[in-house]
């Protein structure tokens, strides 16, 4: 089935911010509109801005010496106090580089995500194009915008954050990792943090979105989204086990 040509940008502006809320409150209706007028800039900007804001409040709360010490202990390395001091100095100098890099990294991640969904859906028989795939991807991630907005006051209420807090991102009690202790193994923590209310919400929205916009069956849409999510989670767990 042929995809309708996307409307001119002027036509989409009026509904750009509406679609951000609309996808949370009335996802199917919103995705139907996006199928006709796909757009992605507003939600992408909001997602990047939220990630940047979170990084700006998390970074000052990190004790770099403690973070480095914990990271080195976790890696099993044995270094001298002088070497640790040098590594801490380097980390202090470059900690804001990580924050600034969100401006580039976040859009890159969503572009990659959209590209991956495009390839897999095409293999599943959809005729979706990249613009629509990107539109569904960024709109489907709106639950994480909500999560980031909820995380900001939680982080602001804490004077200091540990390395484990940052690694597991367990600020919100929306995932099973929020109930784990500091001594929980890293792979398990990675798995628990992935079983998250906002992740499940995102999976549902993406599946609805690709079903509506990509015009595939419900089973295919959920299969693609859940399958790719499972691969990402497996990768997170494997990385946590290795490092």
């Amino acid at each position: 089935m042929e995809m309708p040509e996307p409307a001119e940008p002027g036509q989409a502006q009026g509904g750009a911010l509406q679609s951000v809320w609309g996808v949370l409150l009335a996802p199917e209706k919103t995705f139907r509109a996006l199928a006709i007028h796909p757009h992605w800039l507003a939600p992408l900007v909001l997602l990047v801005a939220a990630a940047l804001a979170l990084s700006l409040v998390v970074t000052p709360r990190l004790d770099m010496k403690q973070v480095m010490r914990e990271a080195i202990e976790d890696s099993g390395q044995d270094i001298s106090a002088a070497q640790l001091e040098r590594q801490v100095e380097m980390a202090e100098k470059f900690k804001w580089v990580g924050t600034a890099s969100q401006v580039v990294l976040q859009p890159a991640v969503y572009l990659l995500m959209a590209g991956t969904f495009l390839v897999v859906l095409r293999l599943a028989g959809s005729e979706i194009d990249f613009r629509r795939s990107l539109s569904v991807s960024v709109h489907g991630m709106m639950p994480f915008l909500v999560a980031t907005l909820l995380t900001l006051p939680v982080v602001l209420s804490r004077a200091e954050l540990s390395l484990k807090d940052v690694q597991s991102a367990r600020y919100l009690h929306s995932n099973l990792a929020g109930f784990a202790s500091d001594s929980t193994a890293k792979p398990l923590m990675a798995l628990l943090s992935s079983i998250d209310l906002f992740s499940i919400w995102t999976i549902v929205l993406l599946a609805i979105g690709f079903r509506v916009v990509g015009r595939v069956s419900k089973a295919a849409a959920f299969g693609v989204v859940i399958g790719l999510w499972a691969i990402v989670v497996a990768g997170k767990v494997a990385l946590a086990a290795l490092f």
Partner: protein, 420 residues
């Protein structure tokens, strides 16, 4: 309606997540710290250092005359009595020298007699010449000549007398040198060093030449440990302080002693040229035969003991800048003061303290604590940045280790499962 209820329910869930996350964060906040109660105990401050075992009395044996060793009575390691012969040098040359001196003395005495006889003869001639001169028979010249000959004869007697004295002195020296060919032990003790053998030529030890030392006798009834004390610690030392001495070669026995001497001038070791040491001598209370001069020893000198000191672990005492009057912030101009942190109502409270003596692990608190307070002792990373009023969570190293072990066990189980 249904949609409105769903949205409301969703909002409630999100609000609940936010509230529980904030509250949970506050409960978890608080630095994990270890605590120990400040308690009274006996505390001994010690100065520890190392050194060598040496006998208190030690005599180096050297020869007074040059000669070849003929007999060696001393055996290294054996006991020797005071006055017992140590060695004998070859005597022939010294005997010949003595006999020569005796002969020289006899000749001198003979010369003296001869001079006396000549002098007597000249006196008789002089008397005759004087008599003849008064009778007008002998001339004035004859009388003058007789007088001169008499004076000369008297001088020859005097010279012969001096020659006898000189010959006697040479005889005395020759006899003394002969006596010195036998060396006797000046003290009772043990021969701890023997540097010569029979047949070797020894030189006299008058120039303090180490090469002239034939042997060394030491009185091992009194043994010292000569300890090198760092200049920063020597000020705490005093005579008669008790010492526990561990000898490296005798690990199963600790000796006791007391400080008997503290050096007044410092020195540096070749291996530590920038450090100044002072020597302290520690006398063993009950030395035994196992101790040998030159053995390495470590001494723990008890410089102060308080039987009922209020003590906390050393790491609990940290330095902080005091707060300026009427200000919550630290007064940056003031010098830092010693403080300990005590736990009160889940918070760290900074208490200024005055410290006293300390041992390896504990330090006395003289002022600031009453006893029984829960003093924060670690971990170091927490104490390093702890400030007055910070929230703390009391834990123990065992709990932390158990948590780490459980985590490691889970990781290794996961890895084992994966490898299967």
């Amino acid at each position: 309606m249904k949609r409105g209820l769903l949205i409301a329910a969703g909002a409630v869930v999100l609000a609940a997540i936010l509230v529980t996350s904030i509250l949970s964060g506050r409960q978890q906040s608080g630095e994990k710290v270890y605590v120990e109660a400040a308690a009274r105990q006996a505390l001994t401050q010690s100065v520890k250092s190392s050194g060598q075992i040496q006998p208190r009395i030690k005599v180096n044996i050297s020869a007074h005359v040059i000669g070849k060793i003929d007999k060696l009575y001393a055996v290294e390691g054996a006991a020797i009595a005071a006055g017992a012969p140590f060695l004998e040098l070859e005597r022939e040359a010294f005997l010949a020298a003595r006999d020569n001196a005796r002969a020289q003395l006899a000749m001198a005495k003979t010369g003296l007699e001869q001079a006396r006889v000549s002098a007597a003869d000249e006196k008789v001639r002089l008397a005759r010449a004087e008599q003849l001169s008064t009778q007008g028979i002998a001339s004035v010249e004859t009388l003058e000549a007789a007088r001169l000959r008499n004076t000369s004869a008297d001088l020859q007697v005097q010279q012969a007398r001096e020659a006898v004295t000189q010959a006697q002195a040479l005889l005395d020296k020759a006899e003394d040198d002969l006596r010195k060919t036998t060396i006797y032990s000046p003290i009772a003790g043990r021969v701890i060093a023997l540097n010569a053998e029979v047949g070797e030529v020894v030189v006299s030890g008058t120039m303090n030449n180490p090469a002239s030392v034939i042997g060394t006798i030491a009185d091992l009834s009194e043994i010292l440990a000569e300890i090198d004390i760092d200049e920063t610690e020597v000020v705490h030392l005093a005579a008669d302080q008790k010492v526990v001495i561990k000898v490296d070669a005798i690990p199963d026995h600790d000796y006791t002693g007391r400080v008997v001497e503290i050096g007044s001038s410092g020195y540096a070791k070749p291996t530590q040229p920038d450090v100044t040491f002072f020597q302290a001598k520690v006398l063993f209370d009950s030395p035994d035969e196992k101790l040998r001069p030159g053995m390495s020893a470590r001494a723990e000198i008890q410089v102060a003991t308080h039987a009922d000191a209020l003590a906390v672990p050393i790491q609990a005492v940290v330095e902080r800048k005091p707060k300026a009057a009427g200000d919550a912030t630290a007064d940056k101009k003031a010098p830092p003061v010693s403080v300990v942190f005590v736990v009160e109502d889940g918070k760290a409270k900074s208490v200024a303290v005055k410290t006293g003596i300390s041992d390896a692990t504990e330090v006395e608190i003289v002022e600031g604590l009453a006893g029984g307070e829960q003093v924060i002792t670690g971990p170091y990373r927490a104490l390093r940045k702890l400030e007055d009023g910070d929230a703390v969570k009391v834990t123990t190293p065992e709990l932390e280790e158990k948590g780490r072990k459980d985590s490691d066990d889970e990781s290794s189980d996961d890895k084992a499962t994966k490898s299967d």
